[in-house]
């Protein structure tokens, strides 16, 4: 079955910042994104766990977006500007998709 090479950007970001990131992705016209819940984690800023947390601060969410290799740079730049001073990480990896046209 024919598949097409695309890129997947994974963004771990603080929950309060989520809406900002999604808006940014929208503004850059990505074809879509998905938000996954995150249970716990540890980074240079220490460990955290969602259990018991009431407010949004302190918890992180994971956003991934599949897009065309050509657009990665254009999205990564402002994205990084947005999250650079925040807690979180950004990774990029290769994926293949079945409906190539769907992901721009």
């Amino acid at each position: 079955m024919e598949t097409f090479r695309k890129k997947r950007i994974d963004i771990m970001v603080e929950a309060p910042l989520m809406q900002r990131v999604l808006t940014l992705l929208d503004e850059h016209g990505v074809s879509g994104y998905t938000v996954l819940p995150v249970l716990a984690g540890r980074g240079k800023d220490g460990a955290w766990h969602r259990d018991g947390i009431v407010g949004r601060a302190g918890a992180l969410v994971m956003i991934f977006c599949i897009l065309d290799e050509a657009r990665v740079g254009a999205v990564l730049e402002p994205l990084f500007a947005l999250v650079s001073r925040q807690i979180g990480i950004v990774t990029v990896s290769d994926v293949e998709v079945v409906r190539g046209a769907q992901f721009t």
Binding site: E14, D51, G52, G55, A57, G58, L82, R85
Partner: protein, 334 residues
């Protein structure tokens, strides 16, 4: 009822004991936790209940002329306390300007659970209070944040913006962030329930009392168990970041804020109960609305400083020792 009786009655209330249980469980590294969605559900319940009851009592006792005064006084406190806190932090701790401003914001704003615990303490001592104190609580959440951001920016331009700024090219707290702070879920539910309670009054309260009145104390216990777990975590993880100066601040600042609250309360002319609650609000430190706002508007400020301080030091202090003290003070002032 003497201050000591109050203190003992408070310390031996199921509420406080469940909080302690939560702290202990965390310190012995038990896996006792309340799932996030349950904790969120409980807090929705508490907001709905306290807001509705406040509104219903306003509907019953009519709109006391002092309502507006009390709200304004609360906002003034919320704006002034950070200024004091900021100065003290700069003098007594080595915190950066940004971190100091962030911590200050928490103490200007309020903790609704501390407020709830105080209302219960009043109830068990048979002291009534103005229903609209809930509205005062809501009004006190935001001003502190704005003042603190202004403090952080003065002479520290780099602190400006953060995600908000980056996203909108503006400085400090942009309109979007302000909107998010003012319309955060807890506030909207609290204020909305207040209005619904005021609109439906006695009849409305009667209809849903078996949900929001009778089981309230018990549900608060479960919530405080969770708060204890989080506070314990804050203590454990935050200990390494906390200097004696900072810990001291976490204990004397509520007293100082409470004193300012007492002054405001007597200027406004609140009842004994109202005074106790105004003191409690001034003394309490936020750990929900403010942290969320600061992550957006002041990302350089370290959560590892302000969260443990507010959750691990000040909240437990207020819950155990502070509240009876504030009630006693209110009694002494009348």
């Amino acid at each position: 009822m003497s201050a000591l009786d109050l203190a003992l009655a408070n310390l031996l209330s199921p509420m406080v004991l469940f909080f302690v249980l939560g702290v202990v469980a965390t310190l012995v590294r038990s896996d006792l936790t309340v799932p996030e969605s349950i904790a969120k559900g409980l807090s929705l319940y508490l907001m709905l209940a306290i807001g509705f009851k406040g509104g219903a009592s306003v509907a019953e006792h009519g709109l006391d002329a002092t309502l507006l005064l009390a709200v304004l006084a609360g906002m003034a406190l919320s704006a002034l306390i950070p200024l004091v806190a900021f100065q003290l932090l700069q003098l007594t701790t080595g915190l950066s300007r940004t971190d100091a401003a962030a911590v200050a914001a928490h103490y200007g704003s309020i903790s609704i659970v501390t407020f709830l615990a105080a209302t219960q303490a009043l109830a068990s001592s048979g002291i009534t209070f103005e229903g609209y104190m809930v509205a005062v609580a809501a009004a006190m959440e935001t001003p502190a944040i704005i003042v603190a951001l202004w403090l952080a920016k003065r002479g520290a331009p780099v602190a400006a913006g953060g995600a908000g700024g980056a996203a909108h090219g503006s400085k400090g707290m942009d309109r979007e962030t302000l909107r998010e702070v003012m319309f955060n879920g807890s506030i909207v539910l609290l204020v909305g329930s207040f209005f619904i309670g005021a609109l439906t009054g006695k009849a409305g309260l009667a209809a849903i009392a078996p949900f929001i009145v009778e089981p309230f104390k018990g549900i608060l216990c479960l919530f405080l168990l969770d708060m204890g777990v989080i506070a314990g975590r804050g203590l454990r993880d935050g200990a390494k970041h906390m200097s004696p100066g900072l810990i001291g601040f976490g204990i004397y600042m509520p007293l100082l804020g409470g004193a300012m609250g007492a002054v405001a309360a007597s200027l406004v002319g609140l009842s004994v109960g109202g005074t106790a609650l105004m003191i409690t609000l001034a003394a309490s430190a936020s750990y929900i609305a403010v942290p969320a706002a600061l992550r957006l508007a002041l990302p350089e400020a370290r959560p590892s400083i302000y969260l443990p301080l507010s959750l691990g030091i000040t909240f437990p202090f207020n819950l155990t020792i502070g509240i009876p003290l504030y009630v006693a003070a209110a009694l002494a002032l009348h």
